[in-house]
Subunit: 425 residues, 2 copies
């Protein structure tokens, strides 16, 4: 296999929701209460919901087209963004330019754990908008290009019954996953150990869907020094995935729901060999704690982990070297478009070099890591819609020869987009 | 090399301080205010200091001689312990039986961060007792067997000036390290980033001593779910070492003090390859944060890490496989006698098997891991006192043929020790 022959499926990217997303999905009764995009006096686009500005469309969340000197906290307008952030047609062109067949997208304005809707004072309104978001994801964003997007929805986590119902509802519509809090106890919700979420987990199993736990919602899980800059948060972010894995593995969750599948999104993979060594030693050496095998019985904790968990990486050279200690079936790749950590538009080069460097030269192993594990785990088959020979890096890039991947300043983007009427709402 | 030829130096063990430790070191004026061991109505030995019971001698802290079914939280008496926990002569016999040449010991009653003295209402009294503890460590415990113990002391962390003075004082007496808080900000002290501790760090550099940061004092750094059992804490404990490394590396500490050497005690090694991958990617990709290389300049963060940090492991098979990604000069071994995680009395078998399994078959690499890195880092030379041929696993074990390593119940230990007058104070 050569780089051009790879098939790349990313299980962690993000869309910046376009302002017209509510148009076709909010019932008439609620239409004028949908979130609205308003450009404020500073030229910043703000989402206004229930009379309050809830978020601006980016900051660090859509830096993909910019030189790194312009990354930062400053809010701005849609016109300053690379259009692939919010326009699905441009997104697919950008995926083609990067050789990426398919992608699962987490939200931006909604909060990748439904924050915007969960914080609504009027919970009925919150639920209506959350369902409208979900319908837009499935029926518009993902449906626009069959075989290119794995649908991922949100749940109304303030109400466990509605949450279970919403899992069933979106499951019936073809959704493959929900995005949820990696450490719910950190956000004031019951923990995974509490049993509170069991109806949701049961619904996910019933619908054969994946629980996707993206890093970020649990940052406060680790108490950083008051002087620590954003570096500390960014570098140690994946340590929270270790905490999540532990909560699920030594809490009852993964044993109570043997069919449950959990993706640790953007959590990296390199921490897993050390973690599995720790749990195996703990299982063997600390049985006094429960006077038993912690309820694992003959199925050792590393087996439960590998049965239930998919981890993914953007760049993770030592994790790839240790792939057999992780589990060759438990590793997927992600692109993280349009965030700062993305390797776009050189993901194939980046990934290929890293695979080669780690000695991943076997075609079977490469395929597992680049697409097979993701498609199996999410039970999602792009080849119902796209022939395999049209799905490779080489084939997709051939479609995208006219895509300009040059980085441009925010100001240049603004001029170009305004002239073309792109990002003007 | 064969297993019997290894030389083993452990940089993390613990002594359970014997009650007569204060006898020779507390100035007469304060003698009656030294901590006293009192057997309470339940037959539990308690350390009483300033009128309060501050700690019992164990619980989980001295399980070495017991079957694992008896491990747990129940407090007890010295007579229930394997005497090697508190008697230096018995300790050396136990080290011989385990083929261990040398050991660095952290405290138990004192708290391995001087907790007992730091919490004293009378700070002058706290300092007197802390200095008495330090003098006992150097002049009795370690001096009893030259070449067998690396002296490690405590500092009066409630007073930074006294802390710096104490580092100098014990350094002049031959101490090689101090034990300190891994995340001081978690215990209400200023963080490593604050600059508050700089006089201590400067003193350590002046005395060519090591800052040893043992896991445990920072457990609260990670917010666990309310239902989580001790498993969670035990399995993810080493994640706090990642936080510590980050605080030191991206805070100014390791760059401000290029001569500072920091040991992450009981922190494991397997997390390091992933962590170094993360910091290297961060250094290359996120320069926007500081508009520079985070102050690292041409010395990359992984180089600073390897220049400054020594990590150690009890059992860590994947870490050993990834030893060259960690740094072959940055890995040391530990025994963790007398805690539950110790591999005593089969540490040579355990370690040898793990080294072989990870492909560590080169004599040079084995020596670095088992003793050379430790001795270089702590600048401590056992061979001033003991010939190398007498320091091997085989040579030491030959001295210890009469040591009975059988596990016995607490009750059996109590009978045996009481009959022999051992542990009766």
């Amino acid at each position: 296999m050569q780089m051009e022959d790879m098939i790349m499926v990313s299980i962690d990217d993000h869309m910046v929701e376009p302002p017209d997303m509510w148009k076709n999905h909010v019932p008439a009764k609620w239409a004028d209460q949908a979130p609205k995009l308003v450009r404020n006096e500073f030229g910043v686009d703000e989402w206004v919901f229930q009379g309050e500005a809830t978020s601006t469309p980016f900051g660090l969340s859509a830096t993909v087209g910019w030189p790194s000197e312009e990354w930062g906290y400053a809010a701005g307008a849609y016109t300053e963004l690379r259009p692939g952030c919010f326009d699905v047609h441009e997104r697919v062109r950008d995926m083609n330019a990067n050789g990426v067949l398919a992608s699962m997208n987490f939200p931006t304005m909604a909060g990748w754990n439904a924050r915007t809707f969960a914080e609504a004072d009027d919970k009925e309104l919150g639920l209506v908008m959350l369902q409208s978001y979900n319908d837009w994801v499935i029926d518009e964003w993902c449906a626009a290009y069959p075989g290119r997007f794995i649908p991922c929805c949100l749940v109304p986590m303030w109400d466990i019954d509605e949450t279970a119902k919403e899992v069933h509802r979106v499951g019936k519509k073809g959704c493959r996953s929900i995005s949820f809090l990696e450490t719910p106890h950190i956000k004031g919700y019951p923990s995974f150990l509490s049993g509170h979420w069991d109806p949701m987990l049961e619904a996910l199993c019933d619908e054969n869907m994946v629980l996707s736990l993206h890093i970020g919602a649990g940052f406060e899980c680790i108490a950083r020094p008051p002087e620590a800059g954003i570096d500390h948060l960014m570098v140690i972010a994946c340590q929270v995935s270790v905490v999540t894995a532990q909560d699920l593995l030594f809490g009852p969750t993964l044993r109570a729901f043997p069919d449950l599948r959990v993706a640790l999104s953007e959590g990296g993979i390199g921490w897993i060999p050390f973690y599995l060594d720790r749990v195996e030693r703990h299982y063997d050496n600390q049985k006094w704690i429960t006077n038993s095998e912690f309820g694992f019985g003959p199925t050792r904790p590393s087996e439960v982990f590998r049965r239930s968990i998919l981890a993914c990486f953007i760049t993770d050279p030592s994790g790839l070297e240790a792939r057999h200690r992780i589990g060759i079936d438990n590793i997927a790749w992600e692109c993280d478009y349009p965030h700062t950590d993305t390797t776009w538009p050189e993901s194939p080069e980046f990934l290929w070099k890293e695979l080669q460097g780690a000695g991943v030269t076997d075609d079977g192993e490469i395929n597992k890591i680049t697409w097979e594990n993701a498609c199996r785990f999410y039970d999602w088959d792009p080849f119902e819609h796209i022939a395999k020979e049209d799905a490779t890096v080489g084939a997709l890039r051939a479609l995208a020869k006219d895509v300009d991947t040059t980085r441009m300043s925010r100001e240049e983007w603004r001029k170009r987009n305004e002239a073309a009427g792109v990002g003007v709402f």
